[in-house]
Symmetry: D2
Subunit: 135 residues, 4 copies
């Protein structure tokens, strides 16, 4: 298993008139968490995409336990539990500054060859960097 | 079952550098679809909230089949399959102008009393307006 | 002068914890208004961009007189006062359902050739369609 | 004069199909920069708002010199040039990792008493913390 935690602070823009973080904003938080998880492994998502492999999201699920609030400093934990194939699966936890679990989620993303538009195997470099965590 | 379709056009702001609608934006599309579904029943979500009943989202799931693109005119279909209790469940379909299914999703929302902060039963007026569709 | 009005309804996602439409969201409203203004002239911004001419924003200014609120049905008026050259200037007014002026703004956009990345003259078709309004 | 710099990384969500940061997103970046500028002075915007003083934006202006791109690590510099009265004026610069100036902007915000809804003087604590920079 590979796990990485990153922190971000809730923006005013991300709140709604209930005073909560809008439920669609967590998709952005998950994006930040998985990009930072890859970066911690030495992988730049931007470079991978510029190199011809895109990673569109195939599915998303989210459970909202408690609201995140304006200016909260959140910890977003991203986990990869199985070595990627043509897909990569992340699970996420969002916790506030008092370590209360606010939100849980999952995404599956598919490696897609930009030229053919077809699913493809995860880049070898990514597999090489991840495999030590899955032996 | 109650079903309502609404249309909206993809904004430039909603696209990402892949040229697709960003995966988190569908949460907004679903919000528009369920508010318009309620409005078609004669229910104003704003008035319900001003009247003391909030409806935060409890869970969300999404499957992305094909990307929505800039300036696409989308049809968002919202369905309610069971009469609400303390919860209301919507399923959604997003289709483009050629009636291709792009995205499917579901949300569960919980009726919450603003004063107590506790879950509560769906407002009677809402149940009265919905019940003809579930007999 | 050319003028076009479009309507849109404030989404929950667009409000903030003050209960107002977040101040950055008006950029999206202006985008919708100018794209619809062009469409009313028979010009598809998407086709123009696919045809090789982009229209990035050069400057934006906004005055916030009164807040727009959740579920308000807004009218966004976009005006073009001078025939475009390498630039096109829009002014905007945002009014609520009781015709109260909420926000005023301006944008200048620059026609850019996608291949060279350099500013270019407005497409002839656009000039032909606009010129009747500026004689 | 008081000046504070903060850094943030461009999210995929913030890009558009041109591959640029969407022009309305800078309003969020400016929000982050001014909240962090206040925090550097020992002032929590959240606490100020919870204490009864809101700070809605009165006007915004922006000049877009060069696009910010996905995954760029941006520096946002916020400056306050005059001691606030009932208003506070910020100017901003957005620079990329190679210190290229991408965007410049300004905002004026108004202190508003939450109870009366009327403009009010800046809180004394804020003035006390800022005044050393304006003597």
């Amino acid at each position: 298993m590979f796990e990485h935690a990153c922190r971000l602070r809730v923006r005013y823009a991300e709140t709604d008139r209930m005073g909560y973080v809008y439920y669609g904003v967590y998709a952005q938080y998950f994006e930040v968490a998985r990009v930072e998880a890859l970066r911690a492994l030495g992988i730049s998502y931007r470079e991978m995409e510029d190199g011809g492999v895109m990673l569109p999201v195939h599915d998303l699920s989210l459970k909202y336990h408690k609201p995140a609030l304006y200016d909260d400093e959140l910890t977003i934990i991203a986990r990869i539990s199985t070595l990627p194939t043509v897909r990569i699966r992340f699970t996420y936890e969002v916790r506030n500054g008092r370590d209360v679990l606010l939100t849980e989620g999952e995404t599956t993303l598919v490696f897609v060859d930009k030229v053919t538009g077809r699913p493809c195997r995860a880049p070898q470099d990514l597999l090489d960097r991840m495999s030590p965590y899955f032996s």
